[in-house]
Structures are given as structure tokens and as C-alpha cells.
């Protein structure tokens, strides 16, 4: 396992080193792809800029709202749908096909409904994230064994106490999968929406820099998005792995 992690890091380091070499040697134009070391230096510089800080704060706020709402509403809907077998069977094909639908195609509709502002971007992030939470909540609840439900009855627990003390802890690792996906999808949804319908935010800053051939802003911000998304995903994966690690034989 440790070897695999080292290998994964080595692959990334090799790609970065190759890009550095190709860019500095002129094989790839510095204008098309600057050396990664320069992108990193530019990123540090950009992070002190008020404009970029405001864009980052704006984007992360929208992602937090979209993701938080998707987790709360998606978990509640997942619990409700799980209670009705007929409803779960009816909706299951829709959930299966949901991610085949390009949500961005609805952005004119979002603007018509929610107006020009932050709301449509948050809604797109929310819409992308929520189904992952619903599906993983239903999956998590499906996994609770009958004997645990009987144990809950033996202890005379009410539904809230049982959910809090038994069902949620049991389902934790599977719910964590839904939360991890919700974070990833809300990142994609919000930043993607900022590309096409925003005047502030990281997505907007990347598009603005692209349209103005401003590689000293565009590449560092792309790197920033990669670093933030990768770090958050890595943290959730580690949490999920830790929870699952207690369930498997060491």
C-alpha cells in the first residue's frame, strides 16, 4: 500500500518534471505551457492579490452552500425514499440515468428562474451533488443488517436515538462516500457554472484570463483548483478509508 502511494506520487512528480523540462528547453512554447515552477511562483503571488482572494472566497462559499445543502437535503431524501420500497424502485432508473444528463444545458433556464447572480451557480452545484448523496444514503441504509434493527428494539431505542447511535455510525463509511462525491460534484458544478454565468469567482477569473491571453493568472488558478479539489478529496478519502478500516480484518 505504501509502495503504491509512493508510486502514485512518483508519477505526478515525473509528469511535472517532464513539463518543466519540455517548457524550459523550448520543445513546448512557454506561452502555451509555462514551466510548473513558474506557475507555482505565480500562484503564491496571486494568492496575495485582493481580487483573487475575493474570487476564491466567493467560489468556496458557493461550493460550501451547494455541497452542504446537497448533503442535508440528499440525506433526508435518501432516508425518506429508503422507507418506501415502491418509491425507491420507481426512482432508481432516474438516479441511474441522472449523470448522463448535461446539467449545464439547463443554465438558461436557471437564469430565467433564479436571475443573474450567484443562485444559478449554487443550484447547478447542488443539482450535480444531490443525487450522489441520495443514492449513497439509500445504499448505506440498505446495508444495515436486520440483526442491528433487532438489537435496537432490544434496547428499546426510539427512531431518533437508533438513527443517531446505531444506524448512522453503521452506515458512516458508505455515507462518507456520498459526501466525498458531493464535494467533488459541487466543485465541478460551481466552477463550471462560473465559466459561463458569473462575474466573480475562480471559474470566471480563469475564463477572463484565458480570453486575455493572461497565462500568469490562468495556469496558477487552474493549479489552485487542482490543489484544493485534490486536497479535499484526499482528506475525505482518508476519512472514508479510516472508517472502513475498522470494518475489515487487519
Amino acid at each position: 500500500m505504501r509502495h503504491a502511494a509512493i508510486l502514485r506520487l512518483a508519477i505526478i512528480a515525473a509528469i511535472v518534471a517532464l513539463l518543466e523540462l519540455l517548457s524550459r528547453s523550448g520543445v513546448i512554447s512557454r506561452f502555451v505551457a509555462p514551466p510548473p515552477s513558474e506557475i507555482a511562483v505565480d500562484l503564491v503571488r496571486l494568492l496575495t492579490s485582493d481580487r483573487v482572494q475575493a474570487a476564491i472566497a466567493q467560489t468556496l462559499s458557493k461550493i460550501t452552500i451547494a455541497c452542504g445543502a446537497a448533503i442535508v437535503v440528499g440525506t433526508a431524501l435518501g432516508v425518506l425514499i429508503h422507507r418506501s420500497r415502491a418509491l425507491a424502485q420507481t426512482l432508481s432508473p432516474y438516479f441511474g440515468a441522472y449523470y448522463a444528463v448535461p446539467i449545464y444545458a439547463f443554465y438558461p433556464l436557471m437564469i430565467a428562474i433564479f436571475g443573474i447572480g450567484e443562485a444559478p451557480q449554487i443550484v447547478i452545484g447542488f443539482m450535480l451533488a444531490i443525487v450522489a448523496v441520495i443514492v449513497n444514503t439509500i445504499n448505506a441504509l440498505d446495508r444495515i443488517p436486520r440483526v442491528l434493527r433487532k438489537t435496537v428494539a432490544i434496547y428499546g431505542m426510539g427512531s431518533i436515538e437508533a438513527s443517531w447511535n446505531v444506524y448512522l455510525p453503521y452506515a458512516g463509511p458508505y455515507l462518507a462516500t456520498g459526501i466525498k462525491l458531493a464535494v467533488a460534484y459541487s466543485f465541478i458544478g460551481v466552477i463550471g457554472a462560473e465559466f459561463i454565468m458569473s462575474r466573480i469567482g475562480i471559474g470566471h477569473e480563469i475564463v477572463f484570463a484565458y480570453n486575455n491571453f493572461d497565462n500568469e493568472v490562468m495556469y496558477p488558478l487552474i493549479l489552485f483548483v487542482l490543489l484544493v479539489a485534490g486536497t479535499i478529496n484526499g482528506l475525505f478519502s482518508a476519512w472514508e478509508k479510516r472508517l472502513l478500516g475498522r470494518r475489515s480484518r487487519s
Binding site: P145, V147, K150, A153, V166, P169, R246, R247, S248
Partner: protein, 272 residues
């Protein structure tokens, strides 16, 4: 306490207990009864019967997990309604019911912590119960790190720590191999002697019932009734060595002679 004193007092009573599933007379299933049975205080009583005869239904009714359709169930003279599990009854299932997100010690402490005992008392009881169950070295382990037999010990410990006066066991060793079952059976007998609790064991294994129980109730095919009650001669200090006693074969033989036709009837019903 001697054996005679232990069994002098009736502990659990079932009078005319039936269980019918479904309300439509055309499709309803008569799963159980009528059952007439009395468990004596401090005795080890086993129930054997063919598959699908209603053993688990009987277990659920006595555990308070499911109501009887008719009849009366009492525990220490008080009626059981099937809507809640009363204090003093501990339950161990066949399946692993340990909580995988808690350590062994926290699993064992779960019920008494919930009951509001002080942390000092929880700690004292958990330590004593882990020692009794041979789990002291595994207090900080998670269930997934233990074997199936040890996980079942955790579940038994979680029940024992609450000091139940009646312990209900639904095929608790059903998922274990034969040698582990014999060892776990010996440990169960030791715990029974030390706690003085009444035990009701549901099992499909005739040898397990013959080795462990003072009395064995033989159930009919569905709807399950008590056909016969077989007494064993082992005495309270018994252990797994009784399997080599010539009388052991007589007991299992008698059980099987009562069960053979019922098992065939159950198989015929299942095949219809």
C-alpha cells in the same frame, strides 16, 4: 445455590400462546402454538424443532420483539406485551450483532452507559465482564479484528454486563465450527453457573441441546407446539465431556425419534 433451590421458582410462563401472520383467513400463516411452557428460575432450557417450526417466532415473543396473537406470556409474574423488551431480559442472536464502529470495551459498555450508570461503574463492570469472557486482552480491538467466535463472545458480554435474569439465545453458535461450538458451550455453562440466570436456548443442533440444557423442549412442525420435554441427567457441573457419556446418545436418540416425523412433515410442507 443448589439445583433444587434454583429451579424451585417459575420464571417464565407461556399459556396458550399462538402467533398467526396475516389477517386474511385465506392466506394467513399459523406459525406457532398453542404453546404451554414454564421455565423454572435458574434452569437451562433448550428448544429444538424442525426448520420453520416457529422456534425463532417463539424466541421473538419471549424476547418482547413480537406480540403473541393469543395467549399469555409472563416474566417473573408480569405479563409481556410484545411491545418492549422488559428489564432483566438479555438477548443474543445467531448473527453477529456487535457494533463494528466501537471497540470491544465500548461494545460491552453500550447498554449500561445508555442506562445512565456512572463511568466508574461502567468501567468496573466492563472490566469484570471482559475478564469473565476471556476478552480482557482485546478491549481496544475492533470486532473486525476478531474471529467469529470472539465476536459472538463480545455480543454475549454485552448482554451479560447488564446482569440479565433471563438470557435468550437464538442459535448463538450456529455460524461457528464444531470445535468452537463445544468450547463456547463450555464457556456458556460456566457463565450460567456464575450468573445464576435462567437461559432459554433456541437451537437446531440436538447434540448442543443435549450437552447444555437441563431440559429440552421438542417442537412439532409448523404451527410449532411443544411435543415433549426431555430432561438430561448431567448435573450443574457438566461440561463438553458429557458427549462421551453413553447416556448422551440415548438423549439425542430420543430427541431425534420425536423429531424425525416432524422434520419430514416440515420438509414436505416446504416442498409444496
Amino acid at each position: 445455590m443448589n439445583m433444587a433451590a434454583r429451579i424451585a421458582e417459575a420464571h417464565v410462563g407461556l399459556t396458550g400462546v399462538t402467533r398467526v401472520f396475516g389477517s386474511d383467513p385465506q392466506t394467513q400463516v399459523k406459525a406457532l402454538g398453542p404453546i404451554e411452557l414454564e421455565l423454572r428460575k435458574g434452569e437451562f432450557f433448550a428448544v429444538v424443532g424442525p426448520s420453520g417450526c416457529g422456534k425463532s417466532t417463539l424466541f421473538d415473543i419471549v424476547a418482547g420483539l413480537s406480540p403473541a396473537t393469543s395467549g399469555k406470556v409472563t416474566f417473573e409474574g408480569r405479563p409481556l406485551t410484545g411491545s418492549a423488551v422488559p428489564d432483566g431480559i438479555g438477548v443474543v442472536f445467531q448473527e453477529d450483532a456487535s457494533f463494528p464502529w466501537l471497540t470491544v470495551a465500548d461494545n460491552v459498555a453500550f447498554g449500561i452507559r445508555r442506562a445512565g450508570l456512572s463511568e466508574a461503574e461502567v468501567s468496573r463492570r466492563v472490566t469484570a465482564t471482559l475478564a469473565l469472557m476471556g476478552l480482557a486482552d482485546f478491549a481496544k480491538a475492533y470486532p473486525a479484528q476478531l474471529s467469529g467466535g470472539m465476536r459472538q463472545r463480545v455480543c454475549i458480554a454485552r448482554t451479560l454486563v447488564q446482569r440479565p435474569r433471563l438470557i435468550l439465545l437464538d442459535e448463538p453458535f450456529g455460524a461457528l465450527d464444531q470445535q468452537t461450538r463445544l468450547i463456547m458451550g463450555e464457556e456458556l455453562l460456566k457463565l450460567w453457573r456464575e450468573t445464576g440466570a435462567t437461559i432459554l436456548l433456541i437451537t437446531h443442533a440436538l447434540d448442543e441441546a443435549a450437552m447444555l440444557a437441563d431440559r429440552i423442549g421438542v417442537m412439532s412442525a409448523r404451527p410449532g407446539r411443544i411435543l415433549d420435554i426431555v430432561e438430561t441427567p448431567w448435573g450443574i457441573e457438566r461440561d463438553s465431556r458429557v458427549v462421551s457419556d453413553p447416556r448422551f446418545g440415548d438423549i439425542t436418540g430420543r430427541l431425534w425419534s420425536r423429531l424425525r416425523e416432524e422434520s419430514m412433515a416440515a420438509l414436505a410442507t416446504a416442498g409444496q
